[in-house]
């Protein structure tokens, strides 16, 4: 039994007007999910640590002046949460729009077309057009790895690759370089991926990547569905007490 169970208590809270019970070690996102409420999310992926970075999952909590990210906010007794107000919907739409404006997403020529988390988010959040000025720098594709390709033009900086590589594979090949809009994910202090000493070619990063930024060579668009089942499984295995 995970040790957290012993120290948590059961509380009652309200999500979108509905009373629900939950354990205090659960996040708002987890509890909402149990209730069948899907909160848009991008940096969150079950099985990896949460960093509260993409801000898509922000929710309103009564009495809190600030919006809080549901993926990292634990529930507490009497909490009243709203997950889909007009204000939140508008903000989420803008966040998705920002991602499309930031890099270069020409879906028709992308390997992930049709099974891309970013596309799905656009649909989910009702983003129909990009009204913001495009930033879209031209970035160099890294095809040096024998099996995989990294196309930074499609990267949304969710750092799922960084986390899976560090937390699950234990290789820590990926990291972040630079700041602000100039930040990029890199392999081994900026070496081409193919020359990385640490990469084990396990492909976990490719599987968790939400977009067409990381993909396998020679795989057709139809086959590009990412396989992530290993994550919750590995996580559960690790939580079994030694």
């Amino acid at each position: 039994m995970p040790e957290t169970l012993t120290s948590s208590e059961v509380v009652t809270l309200t999500i979108n007007g509905q009373e629900v019970s939950a354990r205090t070690d659960e996040t708002i996102m987890e509890v909402a999910e149990e209730q069948g409420i899907r909160i848009p999310a991008l940096c969150h992926i079950s099985g990896l640590s949460d960093i509260g970075a993409c801000r898509l999952c922000v929710v309103e909590i009564q009495g809190s002046p600030k919006l809080q990210p549901a993926c990292v906010t634990r529930v507490s007794e009497g909490m009243t949460v709203s997950t889909h107000t007009d204000r939140l919907r508008a903000h989420r739409r803008t966040i998705v729009e920002m991602l499309f404006a930031e890099r270069n997403h020409v879906c028709s020529v992308c390997v992930s077309n049709g099974h891309c988390d970013l596309q799905n988010l656009a649909v989910e959040c009702g983003m129909q057009e990009v009204t913001l000025p495009y930033l879209a720098p031209k970035l160099q594709v890294d095809a040096s790895h024998k099996r995989f390709v990294m196309d930074p033009n499609r990267c949304v900086m969710c750092t799922r690759c960084v986390r899976v590589c560090d937390e699950i594979e234990g290789a820590h090949t990926w990291d972040i370089m630079g700041r602000g809009v100039d930040s990029r994910v890199i392999t081994d202090l900026g070496k081409p991926w193919g020359e990385s000493d640490t990469c084990t070619s396990c492909g976990k990063c490719v599987q968790v990547c939400p977009t067409g930024a990381l993909f396998e060579k020679g795989v057709s668009v139809a086959e590009m569905t990412k396989r992530r089942q290993f994550l919750p499984y590995l996580k559960t295995m690790r939580e079994v007490p030694k």
């Binding site: 960093i51 509260g52 801000r55 903000h91 000025p133 602000g180 809009v181």
Partner: protein, 551 residues
């Protein structure tokens, strides 16, 4: 060192100073140093030697005397005169003044409001002590507060005193210091830490730098008292790498204090131990944000993380951690020495004590000032600051740097306190105060700060990473005359969205300069957008060049 030893050290030092026939205190603060005060010190020493005045004249290097605009400044104790604009070639004139009339050098009037309207608490030693000599600090009651606390007060008493003083964090947000201390004191963990935030990243601000350079022991004493109050035995000072002098002086101060038994194990013979390490930051603005600072001290990339948990509960290596700003910690010793009621008596109902500001921009007396809370902006700008030079007219004053806003003339009589500043759309911030006259364009000002936030955004969260770049792009459109009303509407929309959704304070406050200039100077934005003119004549407006004729 116990209290008796401290007192005899102080007495010895005071006696020695009184014995010096003629002490020349040369300001070597940031402003005067750039005006050549280092060379002046050399020249004074050299000429004194050549004129056989070696035994009589002592030249000491002290910290910022305040009126940086008129530097280099030299104070002659024997005649109680302050001289201004003393360039190195005027060394002889200073020495001449000791025996006869002062000729060729300008006396600085110390009765002018610039000096008389200030209330120096944190800066009480600036201009008096030599930062590398601990005796110099001790002679001005240094470390008395620490020894008093260790001998007479329980940790809970100290927290109560700080709470009673009404001190609020000077790092920007104004969080009640006593409350923060009591949270850390009550938190449980295997160890606790005290961190001094000396990252000071606001463009144009150098308050914390002055304190660290000119009076480093004050910071150490504040930290030690804080550590005793919250139950910590180890502390870090996080200083940005751009402050090599502060780093050097703090290092010296730490080793001197250790040698005197005022830091280290069994301080003053008690069971209390406290050590301090220095951490040099990599010069990113965001590393001043407390969770990013923690990551940086631990050797990781300096990016913020969501709070809660707050550092008070889970900070350095997951332990309860007290993070305070340099100026906050610099206020602690005087509060203990003079009493919480004294400190609480300065200022307004909700903002107590004094605040250090860096007065810059279109103002006569640029410099470092410390004023009681509640003073009006008008008093700061026109009395202390001496008004706008060159016959200019006041337009706005910017406080809070990239997280703050521009305050127009109609609020000049507003008291300077946390709540009032927030009400008018700015913030107290860490103490930058930029005065602007009619030659400043508010769009340009907003664009300047947005560019700063864009390049300092860590890039972790989308609203700040992309939002600041988008807002900068829109502001650039306005400044070049390419924008239409849709762009302006988009800009306002983004301000709201970035403020509400960003992860840390940098993103949450990045829109403030835009919001406040739009609130008070909307007509300027409209002139850019609708008429294609920059009323102040600052913005390039190249897209419209030749299109408009009425300027």
């Amino acid at each position: 060192m116990n209290l008796d030893e401290l007192e005899s050290t102080a007495a010895r030092e005071r006696e020695q100073c009184a014995g010096q026939k003629c002490r020349l205190r040369v300001c070597t603060g940031t402003g005067c140093a750039s005006a050549g005060s280092d060379r002046l010190t050399e020249a004074l020493r050299q000429r004194a030697k050549e004129r056989g005045l070696e035994g009589e004249v002592t030249v000491t290097e002290v910290g910022c005397l305040g009126l940086c605009a008129e530097g280099p400044l030299v104070k002659v104790d024997a005649t109680d005169t302050l001289y201004q604009n003393v360039t190195p070639n005027l060394a002889d004139n200073v020495l001449d003044s000791l025996t006869g009339e002062a000729a060729g050098i300008t006396v600085c009037n110390e009765k002018q409001p610039f000096f008389t309207r200030q209330n120096r608490v944190v800066l009480e030693n600036a201009g008096y002590i030599e930062s590398d000599r601990i005796e110099s600090y001790i002679a001005r009651d240094g470390y008395r507060a620490l020894l008093h606390v260790l001998a007479e007060m329980s940790p809970a008493d100290v927290v109560a005193a700080i709470t009673q003083s009404g001190l609020r964090g000077r790092g920007g947000a104004g969080y009640p210091t006593g409350l923060k201390w009591s949270t850390v004191a009550k938190a449980t963990g295997p160890r606790k830490y005290v961190v001094c935030n000396g990252d000071e990243g606001d463009p144009g601000a150098f308050m914390d730098r002055s304190v660290m350079e000119d009076d480093p022991h004050r910071v150490l004493e504040g930290m030690a008292i804080a550590a005793y109050a919250v139950g910590a035995n180890h502390g870090y000072i996080y200083v940005r790498a751009e402050y090599p002098r502060a780093i050097k002086r703090l290092k010296t101060a730490i080793s001197r204090a250790e040698r005197q038994g005022l830091l280290g194990s069994s301080i003053a013979g008690t069971s209390f131990s406290f050590t301090i390490d220095l951490r040099v930051g990599a010069g990113a603005f965001v590393c001043g944000e407390e969770t990013a600072l923690i990551a940086s001290v631990q050797g990781n990339r300096g990016t913020p993380r969501p709070r809660p948990p707050y550092p008070a509960m889970s900070g350095l290596w997951g332990c309860p951690t007290l993070i305070n700003n340099v100026e906050t910690l610099g206020s602690i010793a005087p509060i203990i020495r003079c009493g919480a009621p004294w400190y609480a008596g300065i200022g307004t109902e909700k903002s107590h004590g004094t605040k250090v500001f860096c007065l810059t921009g279109a103002i006569k007396n640029t410099g470092l000032i410390e004023v009681p809370m509640g003073i009006t902006l008008r008093e700061i700008v026109f009395d202390i600051g001496g008004g706008i030079p060159n016959g200019g007219t006041f337009k706005a004053v910017q406080t809070g740097g990239p997280s703050g806003g521009c305050i127009p003339e109609k609020y000049l009589d507003m008291p300077v306190d946390y709540e009032s500043l927030r009400e008018v759309g700015s913030i107290m911030g860490s103490g930058g105060m930029i005065v602007m006259d009619q030659t400043s364009c508010m769009v340009d000002v907003a664009r300047f700060f947005m560019e700063f936030c864009m390049s300092e955004s860590c890039g972790k969260c989308i609203p700040c990473r992309v939002g600041t770049a988008e807002m900068y792009k829109l502001l650039t459109r306005i400044a070049t005359g390419e924008a239409n009303m849709n762009d302006l509407a988009k800009l306002e929309e983004l301000c709201e969205m970035v403020r509400e959704t960003s992860l840390c304070g940098l993103g949450q406050s990045a829109p403030n300069p835009v919001i406040s200039t739009l609130r008070y100077f909307r007509d300027e934005y409209l002139a850019h957008v609708n008429e294609g003119v920059c009323p102040a004549g600052v913005c390039p407006m190249n897209a419209r060049k030749g299109v408009t004729t009425h300027a």
